[in-house]
Amino acid sequence: MDAFFQTYFDFTIIEDNFGYVLEGFWWTIRLSILGGILSLLWGLVLAVLRQLPGKAFAPVRWLTVAYIDGLRGIPLLLVIFLIYGGLGALASEGVIPEAIGIPRWFGLPSPFWYGTIAITLTYGAYMAEVYRAGIEAVPSGQTEAARSLGMSHGQSMRFIIVPQAVRKVIPPLLNDFIALMKDTSLVSVIGLVETVQAGRDVYSETFNASALTLGAVLFLLVTIPLARFVDWMINRQNLKVQRGVP
């Protein structure tokens, strides 16, 4: 029992490496927030492209569906390597400018940006599906009312459908965000010392897992309140539905 405690809860090790792990967690936070916001936006763009009406837009719809299915069908880890390897190679071949191929925007290192791009590409696809469910859950009478008032498809999406859809899907989007936050740890494979990598670094020096425990605790400090919040929102929505409120 003591050995167990020593391995996971050695407070001396936690104290000595607190700053190092916290620094890693700061990367986790930045990756999550930036990747989360960009995924939310990219997902919405994809969902709207997927709903474009008429024959003329059929190729756009088809490409969007192919993109969404494709990105949801391959591991994020693979996407990270593809972006990292691909952009870097293209830049060194001179196909794309180095500022894009090896990004160091805002003074942040390129692994951070590769990770952000990969997360956005993948989670944008997941979130597009969530938005789609929300858009499809808005009764068709809403579109008809908007159209009968002379609004275009775009206006009806922008002012009527999307605002209602987004409200409906905030809980599942937050669930995706929780998953996204945990998946930021994958960016460690291209050299970003985020929470998990920081914990592993300490582990390989000390053969003690306490810094990893600390990492887990830091994650839980964010994810558990978020999960509770999602539950609270879902309950509130269910209550509204029971009261017959649209």
């Binding site: 009764p139 009478g141 809403q142 008809e144 009312a145 908007a146 159209r147 009968s148 008032l149 002379g150 609004m151 206006q155 002012f159 009527i160 605002p163 209602q164 409200r167 409120v245 649209p246």
Partner: protein
């Protein structure tokens, strides 16, 4: 006599194999109030929805206010049509994320290009006209069905339409709320609005309509002044329908 505001020629509509409208000819004069009655599934809603092209007809022609809006198998001048024709639905279809005033103002601003202030003034005036001055800032979920339907009428009127279409607008209401909505419609009819109203309210049809149309099986079976169609129908199908309605 001036040109009819709505001219429908040989209008057809099928959903796949199902022929719902099989050739409707109909002319409506400016200021005329027309009630459409008929059994469920006879194509009344489909007719209204074809008139403002929420459904695309399978054939025929539609002219509204002198402009062809459907012909040669395709819609034309859709924007103008939607401005000329207002529609009120059975299920109200208010925008739940907007207040009553915002519901009425939104399309004025986005479609007609009115300023926010101008639109809101007009919205409040119209909400007053349908008896809802005090509910202007409420959201739909705080309004009764009857109040919601009156907001929906104000919302359609805000676009200054030439014609108003009503599709069973009192059918989803609790009985005690029906009268308030009918009163608004009656007032609108008296003000000279051209109206086509699909309804089960025979009393309303009798008192308010200039012409009553009986539809069955995707065609107009008979039409004329309500006193004739409702009290002395010439066709057996009309008699049978009225017998069923009045018995219930």
């Amino acid at each position: 006599m001036s040109e009819p505001i709505i001219q429908i020629g040989d209008l057809k509509k099928s959903f796949g194999e199902l022929d719902v409208l099989t050739g409707i000819d109909l002319e409506i004069e400016k200021g005329e109030v027309v009630c459409v009655i008929g059994p469920s599934g006879s194509g009344k809603s489909t007719l209204l929805r074809c008139i403002n092209l929420l459904e695309e007809p399978s054939g025929g022609t539609i002219r509204v206010a002198g402009t062809q809006v459907f012909g040669d198998g395709k819609p034309q001048n859709l924007d103008q049509l939607r401005r000329e024709v207002g529609m009120v639905f059975q299920q109200f279809n208010l925008f739940p994320h907007l207040s009553a005033t915002e519901n009425v103002s939104l399309a004025q601003v986005k479609v007609l290009g009115r300023s926010r202030g101008e639109a809101d003034r007009k919205s409040r005036e119209l909400l007053g006209r349908v008896g809802l001055d005090e509910k202007a800032d409420e959201f739909p979920d705080r309004l009764s069905g009857g109040q919601q339907q009156r907001v929906a009428i104000a919302r359609a009127l805000a676009m200054d339409p030439e014609v108003m279409l009503f599709d069973e607008v009192t059918s989803a209401l609790d009985p005690e709320l029906v009268q308030g909505v009918l009163d608004v419609m009656r007032e609108l009819a008296d003000s000279g609005m051209t109206m086509i109203s699909v309804t089960h309210e025979m009393g309303f049809a009798r008192e308010v309509s200039d012409r009553t149309i009986f539809m069955d099986g995707g065609v107009i079976v008979e039409q004329g002044p309500p006193a004739e169609v409702l009290d002395a129908p010439r066709h057996e199908r009309t008699r049978k329908f009225l017998g069923l309605v009045l018995a219930s």
